[in-house]
Amino acid sequence: MNSVGIVFMKEIREILRDRRTLMAIGLAALATPVVLFVISQVSTKTASQTYTVGYTGDIPSGLEILFSSTGLKLERIDDPATAAKQQVDIGIAFTSSGIDEYYDPTRQSAQIADVRLQTILSRYDAARIAATLQQKGVDPSVLDPLPVTVHPLSSPTKAAGNSFLSFFLPYILITMSLTGGLSAALDTSAGERERKTLESLLLTPAPRSHVLIGKILAVTAISLTAALAAIVSMLIALSQISFGGAQNGAFNVALSPLAAVVMVWLAVLLAASFSCLTIALGTLARNFRQGQAYATPLYFITIFPASIVLFIPDFNPNVAYYLIPILNAVLVLRDAITHDAVAWSALAVTSASLVLTGALCFYAALRLFTREALLVRS
């Protein structure tokens, strides 16, 4: 075995005996299904929950049936405006001239109840108008001169699932590629210095570049394992969980084979780049703690692009944006999940950008690892 392999095997053995790293991987694999289960429960509960509508006055005939079938419960109250603040979700007053509605927009339950109420009322109005027109011998279709027939090109429930996945999966992939191997990276660089083993290691005939490559490969393997463990556990959880509640079109989320291949490829590139970067930072540090301080800004730097899909769902940049590391991985993965297709030019630019980033980080790590100050500063 050459020195790269020797260092790799030793690092892997040490990492696998390190409780910190194993806990990080284990927690990531366990936490994701738990978070998804909670989200699923909340979304199902929200979809099937009955909201209370407080009212005064006389309910127009037939309207109460629509209320009960849409998950709205009617409750007679004295003052709809006061009751809408806390006692009920929205308050309405049936008057001779129409309906007065009172709701607090800061309450999410009031917003949902309002949407349902508007839906009911528009259906009710349409039905009453149609009945009146028919009584007078007029065809109700005159009210809809341009009827629209919708033909979705893919399943709306699948699209909802893909939309959910296109945010969640890149986020987990990027954060786990970074955090999964961070402890191992700092331990193998700053930790080596702190434990006073670095000098003995550099005294061996093994070239420093080989030692460094062995360390980077080991940390990359751990980062990749952590990211893939979190994603596989997420996908298993998603296959068992449905979102949205039965009455509103429940959906399951699944990853297409194409998106899976793209994800693994990006995971390899991200894990390798992050490993080079974190080892470079660890080499700069005098001890593990200082290394953690150096690495902390990376959380913010990586989380921002990972969140962009959440804040700007329709962000469709030109190919130049795919040069920006991390953001490019998020966009490629989002496209692969959402459209089940890959723009090969975007993937090529993304791959080149991430390889170049990894190479620069490796060069920085190598420079730091081969300088005399590595020993003298300690």
Binding site: S3, R13, T197, T204, P205, V376
Partner: protein
């Protein structure tokens, strides 16, 4: 006369703004314990680090068994074993795994490496704790691991940099006995220390350095001169050099 194993010639080294070595020269031979003496900050550790290729010389040259440290650093590192006061070991590896790691990095085929590790475990009487994780070892046991990893490739040149400074009396004695044994096996042993009592008992020849310069060199008795012991001679030389 025995040929020089380590030849240091007008060695200079500056670290940052500190001119640490200012033209150090000496020769250490196979089959002797050579003392590199001096107060803290004299430049002993820097000299050893240049010899074992961790640092590059700014001027002058170092040869180890004929190999120039600048031209053939890997060949030099194959022939040198270094034991320092810092007994850092990999805590999550066993004593045996720690030693095997360095044996593998020093080269050799798998079967040969196991044989070398077993031999060094026997030689340093480490069988009882060979399979314990290093994090559970005592300081003396860790020091044995540090020695074992430095000698597992059987280097002809051994360098000890303040090896006893963190050890108790018993562990220190074992180190001294090991150096004497290595000398008996024909190794060139360079012993860097500021503990002059140890140096006087162990060393065949010594070089005293102070502020990056050699202030005395020769056999122990030559350097002691007319003084009662090496410490008095050392103090006198250092005082004269100020």
């Amino acid at each position: 006369m025995t040929e020089s194993a380590v030849k240091v010639d007008r060695l200079e080294k500056t670290l940052g703004s500190n001119r640490v070595l200012r033209g150090i020269s000496f020769e250490a031979r196979s089959g002797e314990i050579f003392g590199l003496l001096g107060p803290n900050g004299a430049g002993k550790t820097t000299t050893l680090r240049v010899i074992c290729t961790l640092l590059a010389p700014d001027a002058g040259s170092v040869e180890v068994l004929g190999f120039d440290t600048r031209l053939a650093p890997r060949e030099v590192r194959r022939r040198v074993g270094v034991v320092t006061a810092e007994i850092g070991v990999y805590p999550r590896l066993t004593a045996r795994e720690n030693i095997a790691y360095f044996a593998e990095l020093s080269g050799g085929v798998d079967g040969e490496i196991n044989g070398r590790v077993d031999a060094v475990l026997d030689r340093l009487d480490m069988r009882d704790f060979a399979n314990q994780r290093a994090e559970s070892l005592s300081s003396g046991q860790k020091q044995k691991v540090a020695i074992a990893r430095a000698i597992v490739h059987d280097p002809p040149v051994l360098m000890f940099d303040e090896p006893t400074s963190n050890l108790d009396v018993l562990a220190s004695r074992e180190i001294r006995e090991f150096m004497v044994e290595a000398k008996g096996r024909g190794k060139c042993v360079i012993f860097s220390t500021h503990v002059l009592h140890d140096a006087e008992r162990l060393c065949d020849r010594v070089t005293i350095i102070h502020q990056g310069r050699v202030v005395a060199s020769g056999t122990t008795s030559e350097v002691r001169g007319g003084y009662q012991d090496l410490e008095d001679s050392f103090l006198s030389l250092v005082e004269a050099a100020r």
